[in-house]
């Protein structure tokens, strides 16, 4: 037991299922899981659950996913047609103890209707469950991906359990015409119906186990590059989770590099101070450090109809990474501009957005007017450390763009970043003033998917040095 035993087949399948459910199970953790199973055994399901959970699930989210998938995978109480159980010992069949030697202990797999019929007649649930497990494994149930495959797999499993032969036998019984034969066929009919239901249930559960992870991942990938303004309502929740995940990753990455050591540049003053205890003999050298400032951010969001959806996600993102920022102030504008920092700090972003919308509404945007508002009220707070992010399509409905305000803002601030949800080809067409603002911005970029958003914010944090 000192060396890790090779992971048994059922454990390997469980790990596969766990990965599908979103747990990050590395090879090393797989080995740990195998050692754990060696240590605690399978007898006590609760102990097994606790112990494997300690090894496999490493965050609260993973714990929840793990609990769900463990229960689903180890739920082996099919054939729950009646209450009585013929044999309590063999009814404790779980995938770990089920035999993996070829065609099974009792030789059920594909042997013929005779034994299936007698099993059904005897109501030997445990043996039937084992046979079903095995037939499922032979049919390659772990490859199931789509719900349309349900019937196919159910049929395959039933075939392998010998249903066809049984049906032939039942047909023969009916042909005899004797009351005895008819009665028996009828009795078996009801039993077969029950078997069908059980198998269907079983396949459905396996579909949940094996296919859920893949489809979710696929959907998430899709969402990351979908245009945010085209999102469907049902995807909003998932998007929020995604935004939070991405933001958390970014925040964790940028929270750490607060100071960077400059190798090779001795900080003489601090070295002397540090080594005073040894009479100034420099045992410990202190190097000069470069302090990395957290960015100070002001976000100006256009919340008029055309850009509102994007604004919601930008704000959500900004507030989710606030630990990587030193200060964040946000403003919303349409026809005029107001500060919304306070609303966003007090309430969760989703509710805050609705509140902001109701405050300044979906009016037509007037960029010039809004920028003038900003200059009157808040220009004095802009310093040479401030990053100004403007989100908008720069369509001011042919009002004065007031580029002079942006010019002054660009002189005062560290930089201006303009995120435009429109494609580049649309810039400058119609009432778009994008190209008139662009000369004053350090960066103008298209931003209409979650991926764009992530990239833009990474840039902001990267340049914070």
């Amino acid at each position: 037991m000192a060396t890790a035993a090779p992971a048994s087949e059922p454990l390997r399948r469980f790990l596969q299922v766990a990965r599908g459910a979103g747990l990050q199970v590395s090879a090393a953790e797989g080995i740990d899981a195998a050692r754990t199973v060696d240590l605690v055994g399978f007898e006590d399901r609760d102990v097994l659950k606790d112990s494997l959970g300690l090894v496999l699930a490493k965050t609260p989210d993973e714990k929840a996913a793990y609990d769900e998938v463990f229960d689903l995978y180890f739920k082996r109480d099919e054939f729950a047609g009646g209450n009585e159980d013929a044999d309590p010992e063999s009814s404790e069949q779980d995938p770990f103890s089920s035999p993996s030697n070829g065609s099974g202990g009792d030789g059920m797999g594909g042997q013929g209707g005779q034994s299936l019929g007698s099993l059904l007649a005897e109501d030997a649930r445990a043996t039937l469950a084992t046979a079903m497990e095995q037939a499922a494994r032979e049919a390659g149930i772990e490859n199931i991906r789509f719900f349309t495959q349900k019937n196919l797999y159910a049929r395959r499993i039933l075939d392998r359990m010998g249903l066809r032969a049984l049906e032939r036998d039942m047909e023969a019984m009916r042909q005899t015409g004797t009351p005895e034969g008819l009665g028996r066929a009828q009795f078996l009919d009801s039993k077969v119906e029950m078997l069908r239901d059980s198998v269907r249930d079983f396949v459905e559960r396996n579909l949940l186990l094996f296919a859920k992870g893949d489809t979710e991942k696929f959907r998430e990938e899709l969402l990351k590059s979908a245009r945010l303004s085209n999102l469907e309502r049902r995807d909003l929740d998932r998007m929020r989770v995604l935004v939070r995940q991405m933001a958390k990753k970014l925040a964790a990455r940028y929270a750490k590099t607060r100071r960077r050591r400059l190798r090779g540049q001795l900080d003489t003053r601090r070295t002397l101070r540090r080594n005073m205890g040894w009479g100034g003999i420099p045992f410990i050298t202190v190097w000069k450090q470069k302090r990395i400032e957290k960015p100070r951010v002001m976000v100006l969001c256009d919340v008029s109809g055309s850009v509102a959806a994007m604004a919601q996600f930008l704000l959500m993102f900004m507030y989710a990474i606030n630990e990587a920022l030193s200060d964040i102030r946000s403003f919303a504008f349409a026809g005029s501009l107001i500060e919304v920092s306070e609303i966003l700090e007090k309430e969760p972003v989703e509710e805050a957005i609705t509140k902001i919308m109701s405050l300044i509404g979906f009016g037509s945007s007037n960029y010039g007017n809004s920028f003038a508002d900003f200059e009157d009220g808040w220009m004095k707070h802009v310093t040479n450390k401030t990053t100004v992010i403007i989100l908008g399509d720069a369509r001011g409905n042919r009002t004065d763009p007031r580029t002079d305000v942006i010019g002054r803002l660009s002189q005062r601030s560290k930089r201006i970043i303009w995120l435009n949800p429109e494609y580049r080809s649309a810039w400058g067409t119609g009432d778009s003033d994008m190209y008139r603002y662009a000369p004053f911005c350090n960066l103008v970029t298209v931003c209409n998917t979650l991926r764009h958003l992530e990239r833009a914010i990474t840039d902001i944090l990267d340049d914070a040095t």
Partner: protein, 320 residues
Amino acid sequence: MNDALPLGESPLRSIDAVELGLGEAGYIANRQISTAIYMAHHLQKPILVEGPAGVGKTELAKSVASWLKLPLIRMQCYEGLDESKALYEWKYGKQLLYTQILKDKINSVIGESDDLTTALNKLHSFGDVFFSEQFLEPRPLLRSLQEPGGSVLLIDEIDKSDQEFEAFLLEILSDYQVTIPEIGTVGAIVPPIVLLTSNSTRDLGDALKRRCLHLHIGFPDDKLEARIIASRVPGIDARLLKQLVSFVQQLRALDLKKLPSVSETIDWAKIMLLLHTSVLEVDLVRDTLNVLLKFEADIEAAGKQIAGLTHKARQDAGIA
């Protein structure tokens, strides 16, 4: 099982034994906690304990140490912690002092050397006298490896340390050994039981998590909490205990900035005992609420509901 101790005698022979042993040491553990300790010993892996402040993460390490009668070596993490404070340091002062004292001896060592090369060669033959174990100041990590009978190593609040330090810990966590450039690799005499605690102020690296068992301790349910309080505050009236626990459990359901933890409940119970209270009164609760809640806004928010909560707590304890 191939443990050094025959399993029948080892205090860690089964999960139940762990639970019982921790109970004797005054730590009421749930099944998951005792499973974690059991597995940490048998798989020889560190445990990463996460959970809100005050649910007994540090206490767990102390209890394990006192139960197994092993020395507890504690290392508190903070920003800027580096290996000279965590692992080892050279005793610079002693080295200096010795060189001064031995200055006179240098002539007899070098003797009648004619030139610099022979003198240097003679010096070389003495080896690295000043970089040997006598001049090594062991810090917590090294000390825990050197304990002859094994130890419990508590690395407290690992999330407060820097990313680099976390990476530095990986060697000791996976192989129970550390590398000191001047001496070589030092392995553990007996692998210590290692517990790391974290309040999740930042996400720990995957490499660290992969090497650890992950134990999450949340707030206990009312039964477990009652047992914990009874064990920590002996002599408390059973009915008062019920009221306290019920009140705190209700408080946790409120929308507060910082929820009261087990340690706060214990403090509160001690105060109630000191005040000879047997029934919770609204005024008394109001006066002592600052023991449970640590933010002005929280106290204000909960203050409005005290009457209702107290009433419910009394009902739960069977007092009209």
